[in-house]
């Protein structure tokens, strides 16, 4: 076989590829998995936004922040009072 023939045969062989029969099914399954995951994340994000944007949510978050601050201040006083 000449160099030209070898070269052409090799190029043809490179262009011939076997695609697994179920490849499209697997891609579609992966796409649906990702859509479901995105939907769950979207729901969580929506819930978080709803909490953050509602009056009750804001009051709750501020109360927690104040409670945490008070707790930290008490811990600080405790350092001096315990001596």
């Amino acid at each position: 076989m000449s160099g030209d023939d070898l070269y052409d045969a090799w190029r043809r062989r490179g262009a011939e590829v076997e695609v697994p029969a179920d490849f499209a099914d697997r891609v579609l399954a992966a796409v649906r998995d990702r859509q479901q995951r995105d939907a769950r994340q979207f729901t969580l994000r929506g819930l978080l936004l709803a909490v953050l944007l509602s009056r009750a949510g804001k009051v709750g978050i501020c109360s927690l922040a104040v409670a945490a601050w008070v707790f930290r201040v008490l811990l600080l006083f405790d350092v001096f009072l315990s001596r």
Binding site: M1, S2, G3, D4, L6, Y7, A9, W10, R11, R13, G14, A15, V17, E18, V19, P20, F23, A24, R26, V27, L28, A30, V31, R32, R34, Q35
Partner: protein, 178 residues
């Protein structure tokens, strides 16, 4: 092209199953590109990753800039490059030496020649390899390859010429330029 756009319109309207049409239509050329750019067991994962990325970014596809196949090949090209960067470099990588028709190498089997050409293709710089696979194995037009690679048509021609010269040099006698 119009069929692609119609399918894309359906997908964006919420018909996820329509994406199967695009997968079936482009899986073979995509596998060809990926298998030749990233030989080994990763090809199938990369192909799946490319289709997932295409689906996720379909809303950003701009038909005015390029056709769907060009856009898809660009994603594939970038994923292949990223996969190759993750791989450990091969030590002592070099092109096989030119065959001498007066030696027993000349009697190498067809399969042996193919192995040598495969190895030589793998050693080519990424730009040359991509240009060669897209042009010589998939028959894409030079301007389409230029859009995929993000370079000028002249650069593609030059890369293609250099790739062909290097591969041709391995064969028992020169191959005419096509």
């Amino acid at each position: 092209v119009n069929e692609d756009l119609e399918v894309i319109r359906r997908i964006l309207a919420g018909d996820t199953d329509a994406f199967r049409l695009l997968v079936v239509r482009y899986q073979r050329p995509l596998f060809c590109l990926i298998r030749n750019l990233v030989p080994g067991p990763d090809a199938e994962d990369i192909a799946q990753d490319v289709f997932l990325a295409a689906f996720a970014n379909l809303a950003g596809f701009d038909q005015a800039r390029a056709g769907f196949s060009t856009w898809l090949f660009t994603i594939a090209r970038n994923r292949c490059l990223a996969a190759l960067k993750k791989r450990r470099p091969v030590l002592c990588a070099r092109l096989p030496e030119r065959a001498d028709s007066r030696t027993p190498e000349a009697e190498a089997s067809e399969e042996e020649w193919f192995r040598r050409l495969d190895a030589a293709l793998e050693q080519l710089p990424f730009g040359q390899r991509t240009a060669f696979v897209l042009a010589q194995m998939q028959g894409l037009a030079l301007d389409e390859i230029a859009r995929i690679e993000g370079v000028s048509v002249g650069t593609v021609k030059s890369r293609l010429g250099r790739a062909r010269d290097k591969l041709r040099a391995l064969l028992p006698r020169p191959v005419e330029r096509s």
